[in-house]
């Protein structure tokens, strides 16, 4: 458990579990971050040739538009998931 000033007083396992849950959320988010920009926007662009988003091919669209929208959603979803996690473990403010 964690007291009001943030010091770990007892039950180290609970704070370890909080941290590993946090790291898991970060890793999933980073995988999406990588996939939409470096993946769809750069590495996979040649392979996705021919799939169009309006007048742009998919890889081009992700490089100049799509990845930015994904980043946005990603940060807010991360913030929401973390706030929920904070409450579950009683470490919110």
């Amino acid at each position: 458990m964690v007291d009001r000033t943030g010091h770990v007083t007892s039950d180290r396992t609970s704070s370890n579990a909080y941290w590993s849950a946090n790291v898991r959320i970060i890793l999933i988010s980073l995988a999406i971050w990588f996939a939409c920009s470096f993946g769809l926007g750069i590495i996979l662009r040649p392979a996705l040739e021919g799939i169009m988003v309006g007048g742009a091919d998919l890889g081009f669209w992700f490089a100049q538009q799509g990845s930015i929208y994904v980043f946005l959603v990603l940060i807010f979803v991360y913030a929401w998931r973390m706030n929920k996690l904070d409450r579950e473990y009683g470490v919110d403010e």
């Binding site: 009001r4 770990v8 970060i26 971050w33």
Partner: protein, 654 residues
């Protein structure tokens, strides 16, 4: 009312607002000066971060850098993804934990976490190199914008800009800067999007430029996609297609990564997240920052590509509905007399656009003459030598000699024209000499937009105010990062730890004044490496500060020795690799290798090297830490405490 008066009024009103905010938001304590008293609403902080982040380069140059890139616009997507994706790293990996740490500067965290005054000092050195190189470009941006729109000299413009920054940064500190940046964001985003909307409506019928980019090209009936139209027109003239694949996927990958981790490691951005009340606010504030940044960054590629098409169809009127070469090129007569082309005349006067009727046919042929690069350079050199000799009143024999040399260079260029083809015919067959748009500056793609779209004068004035807002807001953020590193990390941290609260606040104000004076001086006497600054600032932020912060939070095992050696290796490796190609300390002529892909180690460009520097930093830090003593117990407790949001509360001075 003429344009000049209008510019003066609009810019004057915005400056009055900034100064008004400065008086209202005067800082009364160091907590207010360094972190705005931790009372900034996350949405407000997001907006201020947006203005802090979007510099003169983002506002004025980025769209043109994308639109006019010789390798095509797609390759430059690295800027769009890199300068936004970094916020994901900030939100996930740094901002919440640094906010929980709850102190005022980046070096302070590094010093505490690695229990070492040396580590703190090294972080101060990195911070100052990064921020000073970055701030020079902003001060230049202020001067240049003034000289273009307000008919004062660049130097005078710089003094005025410095005086305004002085007014709100010295008195208001982070508090004054934050609320001014909110106002500056509003000005810059309106100035950027209004012309974009009108241009998008004209070219694609789409109100949102983001949809216009992927929409259909309207003037030809709408059965061709806008991007396809742009590709068709520019490739016809011998340029690389806008959507062409990148010449080096490896460098695009590494450059994007370098910009992302560099963004997350820039001290002036990180300290913005010290201003919100809670850890949860630091997370959402990064999201809000990205909302406000994305408003400009998703519009920028549309602005760039549409301005490029507008520019090309101005030069080749036939391209509006058909092929560029269907009709003759634009005539000098039209440029002089057609009211719709008045913007061409305006921008010719500024020297950002240079047109020369080289073949004397009364028309301006715009095409890609990269194959004539050597010949063009020879003609340019011979022209300059002749002009210099004439100016110096050289004797007649010397003048005759140089005239002959120029004539020979011209002959050689015309002869080479038999080997260069445009649209299936050689230049010799067409009677063309070389590209007659001798210069088109990247900045025109944004600055001339309101005139190209025939928008009213107040929109032009707003663009001037927007460019100034972008440059001033970034400059202020950087100056605060520099001055707090001096007053808090150097003076309070090592020179005089017993300094009183009042004394430190005074020291912070004096440091700020000092930072403004230095950066104004550097802006007046730029070291001539403005274009290279981006590579250095982002490369170093990526290779030094980002890894140190991340390891400080996510590892309990990385110790003092590891962190210091890691940062040193990142700093030295990255700067040496850049200097090898750009000259030692950017002094022209001292470069060891020519800056061309053939010379790069493993094909890695100096722009992209920050990623490799970061990897080395991580590797060295982990390796050294593994064979040296683990950090002391209180440091492990510090790491455990920053990992838990509860108890962020008010930051403590010490």
């Amino acid at each position: 009312m003429d344009q000049f008066t209008l510019n003066l009024i609009v810019v004057g009103i915005t400056f009055a607002i900034y100064v008004g905010i400065a008086i209202w938001a005067r800082a009364g304590s160091t907590a207010e000066f360094y972190a705005a008293g931790q009372g900034v609403h996350p949405v407000m902080n997001g907006m201020a971060t947006g203005a802090d982040w979007m510099s003169a380069a983002s506002f004025i140059s980025m769209a043109g850098i994308i639109a006019l890139a010789p390798a095509g616009g797609y390759t430059q997507s690295a800027f769009l993804m890199g300068w936004t994706g970094g916020y994901v790293l900030l939100a996930l990996l740094l901002a919440p934990y640094l906010r929980k740490f709850g102190k005022f500067t980046v070096p302070e965290f590094i010093g505490d976490r690695f229990y070492s005054g040396g580590a703190r000092l090294l972080a101060v050195v990195c911070l100052i190199i990064i921020s000073i190189t970055y701030v020079i470009g902003q001060m230049r941006g202020v001067g240049v914008t003034f000289s273009r729109f307000l008919e004062v000299s660049t130097d005078m413009g710089l003094y005025i800009g410095a005086a305004i920054v002085f007014a709100y940064a010295v008195f208001g500190g982070m508090k004054g800067i934050t609320y001014t940046q909110v106002a500056q964001y509003v000005v810059l985003i309106i100035a950027y999007t209004i012309p974009a909307i009108f241009i998008s409506l004209a070219l694609t019928g789409a109100f949102l430029p983001q949809l216009g980019l992927i929409g259909d090209y309207a003037p030809a009936g709408g059965d061709q996609a806008f991007l396809a139209k742009l590709d068709q027109v520019v490739t016809e003239l011998g340029f690389t297609a806008y959507t062409a694949d990148t010449p080096s996927m490896l460098n695009m990958f590494l450059f994007t990564m370098s910009l992302m981790i560099g963004t997350a490691g820039l001290p002036h951005v990180i300290i913005r997240f010290f201003t919100v009340p809670k850890v949860a606010d630091a997370r959402s504030s990064a999201g809000w920052a990205l909302v406000f940044i994305a408003l400009l960054y998703t519009v920028a590629p549309a602005v760039g590509s549409m301005a490029r098409l507008n520019f090309t169809t101005t030069m080749w009127p036939g391209a509006v509905t058909g092929n560029a070469l269907d009709q003759d090129a634009v005539s000098l007569d039209a440029i002089q007399n057609d009211p719709k082309l008045s913007w061409v005349r305006t921008w010719e006067q500024t020297g950002l656009l240079v047109l020369q009727d080289l073949n004397g046919d009364g028309k301006i042929q715009y095409f890609n003459d990269a194959k004539l690069a050597a010949e063009n350079k020879a003609v340019e050199g011979a022209t300059k030598a002749l002009a210099d000799a004439r100016a110096a009143n050289a004797d007649a024999a010397r003048i005759t000699e140089l005239e002959a040399a120029l004539a020979a260079a011209n002959e050689a260029r015309i002869a080479k024209g038999a080997e260069v083809t445009v649209g299936g015919q050689t230049l010799a067959e067409r009677g063309w000499v070389a590209n007659e748009v001798v210069k088109v500056d990247n900045d025109i793609m944004v600055l001339a937009n309101p005139e190209i779209a025939a928008l009213p004068g107040w929109v032009i004035a707003l663009v001037a105010a927007g460019a100034l807002a972008a440059a001033l807001s970034t400059a202020a953020g950087l100056l605060l990062a520099i001055s707090s590193a001096i007053s808090h990390d150097l003076i309070k941290g090592s020179i005089n730890p017993n300094i009183s609260e009042k004394g430190e606040l005074l020291a912070a104000r004096i440091s700020m004044t000092f930072a403004i004076v230095i950066s104004t001086w550097l802006g007046l006497n730029p070291p001539g490496f403005a274009a290279q600054v981006v590579a250095l600032a982002f490369g170093l932020a990526a290779a030094t500060i980002f890894p140190a912060l991340m390891m400080g939070i996510f590892s309990k095992r990385v110790n003092k020795e590891g962190a210091i050696l890691g940062m040193l290796v990142g700093l030295v490796f990255t700067s040496v690799y850049i200097f090898l190609y750009k000259g030692w300390f950017f002094i022209p002529g001292t470069e060891v290798y020519a800056d061309v892909p053939a010379n790069y180690f493993f094909g890695i460009s100096p722009l992209s090297i920050g990623t490799i520097g970061a990897i080395l930093n991580f590797a060295v830090a982990f390796a050294v830490s593994a064979v040296t003593k683990a950090p002391p117990r209180q440091v492990v407790e510090l790491v455990e405490s920053i990992r838990i949001p509860r108890g962020a509360g008010k930051a403590t001075a010490h």
